[in-house]
Symmetry: C2
Subunit: 461 residues, 2 copies
């Protein structure tokens, strides 16, 4: 086989260096989730297609990876049922046939499997159920820069509780996670009920998305251009006049809330949204967070999905899309037969967080460190001695390895260099006789003669 | 939708309790791998079918889960090319058609993707390349007790080194992992070259598997019955006489090696195997291991795959199949065009290790512990105070949560109980006034009035 092997487009291998960075991200996030009482679950990569289909819209259905039934998938298929005569000849109804020969599909997100999990295990779990889940998902999207067909999602959700304390704790977790990462972020908050209220008071409920898109552009194109755009979208002058205070919303969160409250006074749902937003900001102020938190009415992510709070997190010092987002959905599990179970959650974008940490050089050196010490192998007596020293080091928690095959010292040096190993432990004839190791710091060039215990003292954290 | 949702047969959901146990297993194994200089990689769930097909035998090919091409998988297929006239009518060539409409398959193990990875990234990695990989694999096997269609593999391998120090370090890692688990095991070692030598000196190279199967039964059915079985399998009396010393092999590892050495004196490959085995045992003796290590010539796992050492680990105090196994393969990457790259590795059976730890009650309490403290919610002033105390606790690394929705105290108690939370932090009117928390140990029933700092001191590890 002359051709180099490859992997399917849109998928990735992760090398040790990349894995170290990714594990640092997941470990940090996990440790914070745990402090807040969230516990991990995992669900299978394959779900029944009946679980997945119809949950992500028509576009989503097309992006599901379907898994061919095992065994002779086609042997019992009456192919003629899936063929149609067309002007260009006999054609196959690809969609219908694929549903016949595929009963399973790959997980498209973690939300639908979570809803399925809650309903399926409702008698085993305690409500409210606080779970996190870090697993890959698959989408048959057209691959492009930053968009993959396999990528990890990192979701944290609670179901079975309507209290805004949950929203608060999500904000606190985001705050703690990014503070631990050393990344400055802005946590943007909106409320779907306010958007509904806005459309209600402007008397154009069908223009919800146009309005939020326009609000989002105000900083870039200015008030007049935004108004023009709204006119183009068919909004009346009256409607534009009503929402104008929202377009020019500025000041502190308290000031913003005051403006919105006045605007929403005629709308029941809008007023409810304002009350929720105000309560959440009071809770946040009560405990205090270190990152920036701000009201942003242009947040519209998952609009036909969220029913209360909407969250999005942006990195302040690095140009990239949102690195975290989520919100409240009042009927997550209804699709699987368990109605009236409200949930709220957020999802951390591991790939983008990786890019930010790398771009800002914020990965802690020890988190992505490789083996600490490479022992040379200069013969069997020397390596026997080295292996005993290594045993002591490992029992003390110091990672080390030996260049097992031995050979030229130069080659052993090169390996240490290529692997980014900081210390070379040279064990030659004189070391063997003296019962010590010559430890060379490859960064500084400094070298010392040390016993196993000396090395433990030097390198232990 | 009245019917409860379900998951594909042979797959599993993991609840928080199961996840805690599994994470403890993976974290322990990972920490040991790291001490030995092994670094993590991950490969995509989907590989090109061309990478997977033909690597696991005809049986394995049938057990691959194939992923339907995205888009209109069937639209360009000339169905007639896949139809055959048979006596029972027109039939579809299921296999050929499935390869036409599926270009990708789910990972069947971690070894082939690893080999593919090494070849594909050969210019980026340093040889010897020491990697571990903990990821799920999928097999369309008939599900049964303990056999799943999706399960995690946990592999550690080094390629590009022929030194037996690698075998030693694998044994050391196994020793350390199971010692950390508190599980007593027997590490069984064989060498494929000795088995080849045995068949050579007995002049029946085709009976290799029959011989190893027979050796394996000696303890259960005795020497005579084993000989009968070998006769049934077509071995001559001469052949049986030659291998008899192996059937009755006993004593220390040194004694066993002496017997095998004599037996193998006429076989070049057999003698090579004896030399390897002896060197490995010398290395093991040199560093010392705490678990039992023993020569077992009946070990034949992966026989047409391994070329040197063969390993298997059995739990001593719990009845279950092998919990770990592996060996050396001299040409892992040859199938992908990179010949002469020897590798050796082992795989830890996470599901079985879980069963052993559970069966022997060896999961450490704190490893599988849930949230430490549940705060009651008895109103908004009380919860505001509680949230501030919780902030202090979390900053000190203590996991806690609040029963966000409030309501009857009895319900809040029940939730703590159902979740297995040890401490209930009661914050009522008097606590609010006094600025303290009543911390109740739900195990002992004891309760104390404490400040946030007191709780930190009490519960910090």
């Amino acid at each position: 086989m002359a051709q180099k092997p490859s992997i399917p487009k849109g998928t990735r291998d992760f090398t040790p260096v990349e894995m170290a960075g990714r594990n640092y991200i997941f470990d940090t996030i996990r440790s914070v989730f745990k402090l807040y009482g969230y516990a991990p679950i995992e669900t299978p990569a394959m779900e029944n297609l009946s679980t997945l289909l119809g949950k992500y819209g028509d576009e989503g259905d097309k992006l599901l990876f379907k898994v061919l039934n095992s065994g002779d998938a086609f042997s019992k298929v009456e192919i003629s049922q899936y063929q149609q005569d067309t002007e260009e000849g006999v054609k196959i109804n690809s969609n219908a046939l694929s549903l016949k020969v595929c009963e399973k599909g790959l997980r498209y997100d973690l939300t639908v499997p979570f809803a399925r999990f809650v309903v399926q295990h409702q008698n085993e779990i305690a409500l409210p159920f606080k779970r996190y889940q870090i697993q890959p998902v698959w989408r048959a999207d057209r691959p492009q820069k930053g968009r993959y067909r396999e990528f990890y999602q990192c979701d944290v959700d609670v179901v079975g509780s309507k209290s805004l304390i949950n929203e608060l704790e999500l904000v606190q977790m985001v705050d703690m996670v990014f503070s631990r990462f050393g990344i400055n972020v802005c946590i943007k908050i909106n409320n779907r009920k306010i958007l509904s209220g806005l459309a209600e008071v402007a008397k154009c409920p069908d223009k919800l998305i146009d309005i939020t898109v326009a609000i989002d552009k105000i900083d870039k194109i200015g008030l007049d251009a935004v108004k023009d755009e709204l006119r183009d979208k068919g909004l009346s002058e009256e409607a534009i006049a009503v929402i104008e205070p929202v377009l020019t919303l500025s000041g502190s969160n308290t000031e913003k809330i005051a403006v919105i409250r006045t605007l929403m006074s005629e709308s029941e749902i809008g007023s409810k949204g304002v009350a929720e937003l105000e309560e959440l900001f009071n809770l946040i102020e009560g405990v205090g967070v270190s990152q920036l938190v701000e009201i942003d009415l242009s947040l519209a992510r998952g609009l036909n999905y969220y029913t209360g709070a909407i969250f999005e997190v942006k990195a302040l010092d690095y140009q990239i899309g949102s690195i975290c987002g989520g919100g409240r959905y009042d009927d997550l599990t209804g699709i699987f037969g368990l109605p009236n179970t409200s949930g709220v959650g957020i999802s951390f974008g591991a790939d983008r967080i990786y890019d930010v940490l790398k771009g800002l050089d914020k990965f802690p050196k020890d988190a992505i460190a490789t083996t600490q010490v490479l022992f040379t192998n200069m013969g069997s007596s020397e390596s026997s001695f080295a292996l005993k020293v290594m045993k002591t080091l490992r029992e003390a928690g110091i990672s080390c390895e030996i260049y097992a095959d031995g050979g030229k010292l130069r080659k052993q040096f090169e390996y240490a260099d290529k692997r980014g190993i900081q210390y070379l432990a040279i064990v030659g004839e004189s070391e063997l006789e003296g019962g010590f190791v010559t430890l060379k710091d490859l960064t500084s060039g400094e070298q010392k003669q040390l016993s196993a215990d000396d090395i433990v003292v030097l390198l232990s954290k």
